[in-house]
């Protein structure tokens, strides 16, 4: 019965669940709010499953397409569809949403309904970002998700949350407003259409392409985030509650990278080739320099935040190698980073809930008190460092291989991440988990409970499964990636 509108369900089920959670009102009904939120998140995941089971990996065309007139005055359509690039991201998002709801179960005691609702509504909007095939529809989802995220950081965040929320909001708004102007320009160039696939075939002069390239680069580069517009991320991460950090790292960063594939590469192929050196340089700086910055962090969340920037540098580097291996590697890295960064932030959340500190120096000797936790943390730390057999390895390896084909020195700089990543992650791990217990409060820490084992266990399975057998993921992406590269190879100069 709902076979024709799976994508609409994937978008609207979480949003409506969020509204239902809001309706429970004050904190007196907190338990009810939690259960409705969990039910909504699970339902959101269940309705997304047909996307995976019914997906045809043999075609690069959009699947599960829905199209209806929305604002005929401007020829704007409610146009949804997914291909091999966006489908895995929707699944990832729906999956992470469930974890976030469970992760906030006990920790959040203040304005529970609003907290849960903000996450559910944001989840629906992010699914919309990945599914939208109309420029304005994309923009509506892309911008709409700023509202719940702003509130999440600002209301439930740490001491410096107001500064972080403003910085995050204004940074991202700057990029997206310029993108909006570009979209309007594209509307006129394409003869009055906001359809993204039409834009893929619109001819554009070099000047226009270059200008729009920078507009889109700013919009998506801020979200990714790329060096040097990354400075909002460590602030937002540190101040956000655990759930907020998880969603920020696992999902919102992917929105930016996704924009590269949906907009920049296929719409502006000539500018992309011409300015590839620029993006590659920024990506390599992110990989090498931000890796060094991560090394000296004293705050665990900040460390993981910088590590995220370095990992996303890999993603953008892979995209601009213009070969299937690099693109796929970037995509695999995105999904893998979704799992690993989510897991690491949840681990930090577990520790923070017990000790109320994120400083590395406050910990030490954790393995004596929390052996099960230490084991999980170990796995995720290794995955973050790119150990083979974990998902972290697959993407990095593919991108480095792709870079070697293009230029040895790109690969050389990129490969420093294998050293730096191992250094900052494992050094942090050593200081936090091993050694003697020096802080008396660590003595009182209890090991993970069943709820936390469930979350971390599920993520551990994902990380290992993707590391051991990544083929299902790459199969889904392959045809779409090849089609995208065909678009990119075609000059669109008039």
């Amino acid at each position: 019965m709902f076979g024709q509108s799976i994508l609409s369900l994937v978008i609207w089920v979480p949003i409506l669940a969020g509204v239902a959670v809001l309706a429970t009102g004050s904190d007196r009904n907190a338990a009810l709010a939690r259960w409705i939120a969990l039910a909504g998140a699970l339902l959101g995941l269940i309705v997304a499953i047909p996307l995976a089971t019914g997906f045809d990996t043999g075609t690069s065309a959009m699947q599960f397409v829905e199209k209806a007139a929305w604002i005929p005055a401007f020829n704007i359509h409610y146009h949804l569809g997914v291909d091999g690039i966006s489908m895995p991201l929707i699944l990832l998002n729906s999956f992470i949403t469930v974890l976030v709801v469970i992760a906030g179960w006990q920790v959040i005691q203040d304005k529970v309904a609003q907290y849960m609702a903000a996450f559910l509504i944001m989840s629906g909007l992010i699914n919309g970002v990945f599914a939208a095939l109309d420029g304005i529809l994309f923009y509506v989802f892309f911008e709409g998700m700023l509202i719940p995220l702003y509130l999440i950081v600002g209301v439930w965040g740490g001491p410096n949350r107001v500064y972080a929320a403003f910085k995050f909001f204004l940074y991202t708004l700057l990029g997206s407003l310029l993108m909006l102007v570009s979209m309007i320009y594209l509307y006129f160039q394409s003869g009055g259409s906001f359809d993204i696939q039409t834009w893929h075939t619109t001819t554009l002069g070099m000047t226009a392409q270059t200008l729009m390239f920078f507009a889109f680069l700013l919009a998506f580069g801020v979200k990714v985030p790329m060096w040097p517009v990354h400075t909002w991320l460590p602030d937002a991460h540190v101040e956000a509650p655990t759930g907020g950090s998880v969603v920020l790292a696992a999902i919102t960063l992917k929105v930016g990278a996704y924009g590269f594939l949906r907009f920049i590469l296929p719409i502006l192929p000539d500018a992309s080739h011409e300015l590839a050196w620029f993006v590659i340089t920024l990506s390599l700086i992110a990989v090498a320099y931000i890796g060094l910055v991560a090394l000296v962090q004293a705050d665990m969340k900040k460390l993981i935040a910088y590590s995220s920037i370095a990992h996303m540098g890999f993603v953008t580097l892979g995209f601009f190698m213009f070969n299937p291996l690099g693109l796929e590697g970037g995509l695999v890295q995105m999904i893998s980073h979704g799992f690993v960064s989510a897991a690491l932030f949840l681990c930090i959340g577990v520790m923070y809930d017990r000790l109320h500190s994120r400083q590395i120096k406050d910990y030490g000797g954790l393995v004596n008190k929390m052996p099960v936790f230490a084991a999980f943390f170990m796995l995720f730390a290794m995955a973050n460092a790119g150990l083979p057999a974990t998902s972290g390895f697959v993407g990095e390896f593919m991108v480095i291989m792709a870079a070697t084909k293009v230029n040895f020195w790109f690969a050389f700089v990129a490969a420093t991440t294998l050293i730096l990543g191992a250094a900052y992650t494992l050094w942090m791990y050593k200081r936090v988990v091993f050694g003697k217990v020096t802080n008396p409060h660590v003595e009182e820490m209890r090991d993970v409970n069943a709820r936390e084992i469930l979350i971390l266990g599920v993520l551990a399975i994902c990380v290992l499964a993707m590391g051991l057998y990544p083929k299902p993921f790459t199969d889904v992406m392959y045809v779409s990636v090849v089609d995208l590269l065909a678009h990119v190879a075609q000059s669109k100069l008039p």
Binding site: G25, S26, W70, I71, P72, A73, F74, K111, Q114, I136, Y139, V140, E143, G144, L146, I147, Y150, L151, G154, V155, R161, V162, A165, F166, F169, L170, L173, L174, L177, L178, L180, V181, I184, Y185, Y187, F188
Partner: protein
């Protein structure tokens, strides 16, 4: 005889309002203080009655009446319906506020209805004379409304400033009109357009006339550099009057500008476009930057009005049907948001307390999550973040600007709206991130709460489905131009 009467038919709503105002004036003089609600109820009935009359005779084609002084077209009918709506909402929001401050008198309602009549004449005018008459009827009523709180020195000062600067602006406008009359030999917009389209040798007097007219219009809109009165009047006037000034008159001012520039001086678009570009850019720049420094919400919203009027001018300066349509959409959406924003101040105020400081919104989410949520919607709509309707208003205007090739202007506009985002976000921050310092219960009456809910949710609903309102604007402009 019947011919004589039928030519008045298009002006039936205006005649009805005039008759009712006179009636209310007489009745209110006869009732004692305990029955002041009579004027309130009758005023609402007047607005509803006028709405019924306008909707019943909704025109499909432009009809000139009263010897070419008056025009009844879809544009005027649509705008009038929105004028009624916003005047009615103002009355509901302000009732408690006025009662608590001893202003709940017939004068307020009579003046509001006279102002409404003036605005109706403005949107239906097709002649310099009627345009000017409508404008003066509106302005004189507003001067008196601002001064209505006699014992408040701030209000009196605001009224004085408003009057002096308003009179100056009217003078400029008249001067410009007289020059255009000198060039074209006519005061009727249609004849002026005809004459100018045929070409004229009198370029210099014509351009001078346009400059004066644009300056006068800029005064009335509150565009920079003719904006000085706006913050003082918005701040000094009792909030109920600020609410009135900030909503319906903007719609009328849009009609006024579009009738003169778009219909009368259409062929001279090359002359007035550059002037509007300067006005728009300055308004967006100064409005948004100055709003950041304000601690008083009324003053902040006054500067925000200036920047919004700048944005609306972008649509008009496009000089195309698309542009006028987008400006119309923008001004209607702006009126809706402005009603909500100032209305919220009224709802949170109580006897002896004005909730017009930014700090009064601290922690509103704890005191009333619902009102905080509505205000959140209104603020994000003012920024132009989807899925609120403010986004489509900005989108439409930007599109009109890009269409005429002014991409740089669109870029400037979005950069200034980024600056503007800061101070709207600050309100959200105060409501959601801070703890309240005012713990008294909110005493707003139920009907105002219901209207406020409808107001806030309309911003969201129109944001999810903007097509109906957009189609109305496109249609109205399409038929009338």
């Amino acid at each position: 005889m019947s011919d004589f009467l039928t030519q008045f038919a298009p002006a039936l709503p205006e005649i009805f309002v005039l008759a009712m105002v006179s009636l209310i004036l007489v009745i209110d003089a006869a009732v004692d203080d305990s029955k002041r609600y009579v004027a309130y109820v009758l005023s609402l009935a007047t607005v509803v009655g006028a709405a019924v009359l306008t909707a019943r005779d909704f025109s499909t084609m432009p009809v000139l009446a009263l010897g070419g002084l008056f025009i009844d077209d879809p544009l005027s009918d649509v705008l009038k319906l929105f004028l009624y709506l916003s005047v009615a909402v103002v009355m509901v929001y302000s009732r408690d506020y006025l009662r608590q401050r001893g202003l709940y008198k017939g004068e307020f309602f009579v003046l509001a209805l006279f102002a409404l009549l003036g605005m109706m004449v403005m949107v239906s005018a097709s002649h310099f004379l009627t345009l000017y008459l409508g404008l003066e009827l509106l302005s004189l009523s507003l001067y008196a409304m601002v001064a209505l709180q006699r014992d408040s020195s701030v209000a009196t000062e605001a009224a004085m400033k408003y009057f002096v600067l308003g009179a100056l602006a009217s003078g400029m406008l008249l001067y410009g009109m007289s020059m255009v009359y000198g060039v074209t030999g006519s005061l009727a917009l249609g004849d002026i357009a005809q004459n100018l389209a045929d070409g004229t040798d009198l370029r210099i007097p014509l351009v001078f006339g346009i400059v004066f007219i644009v300056a006068g219009l800029a005064f009335k809109l509150g565009a920079v550099p003719f904006h000085m009165w706006v913050p003082d009047v918005y701040h000094g006037a009792p909030t109920a009057m600020t609410l009135f000034i900030g909503s319906a008159p903007k719609i009328a001012a849009f009609a006024f500008v579009v009738r003169i520039l778009g219909q009368g001086l259409e062929s001279q678009v090359a002359e007035w476009r550059d002037m509007l570009v300067i006005l728009a850019v300055l308004s967006m720049a100064l409005g948004n930057l100055a709003a950041i420094a304000q601690t008083n919400l009324k003053r902040m919203l006054a500067y925000s009005t200036i920047s919004h009027m700048g944005f609306m001018l972008l649509g008009i300066l496009a000089g195309s049907q698309n542009g006028y349509g987008s400006a119309m959409f923008y001004v209607l959406v702006y009126a809706l948001m402005s009603l909500g924003g100032f209305g919220m101040i009224l709802l949170l105020s109580r006897a002896g307390f004005e909730a017009d400081q930014l700090d009064d919104f601290k922690g509103l989410n704890r005191r009333s999550p619902w009102l905080a949520f509505l205000m959140l919607l209104l603020m994000f709509s003012m920024v132009g973040i989807p899925p609120t309707v403010g986004f489509y208003a900005k989108l439409a205007v930007l599109q009109a600007v890009v269409e005429i090739g002014y991409v740089w202007l669109a870029v400037a506009a979005v950069l200034f709206s980024l600056v503007g985002a800061f101070y709207y976000l600050r309100i959200v921050k105060l409501m959601y991130f801070d703890t309240p310092h005012d713990t008294e219960a909110i005493s707003a009456c139920p009907d105002a709460r219901v209207i406020m809910s409808a107001n806030g949710l309309a911003v969201l609903a129109l944001g999810i489905l903007p097509q109906p309102l957009m189609a109305v604007c496109v249609h109205a402009i399409g038929v009338s131009f």
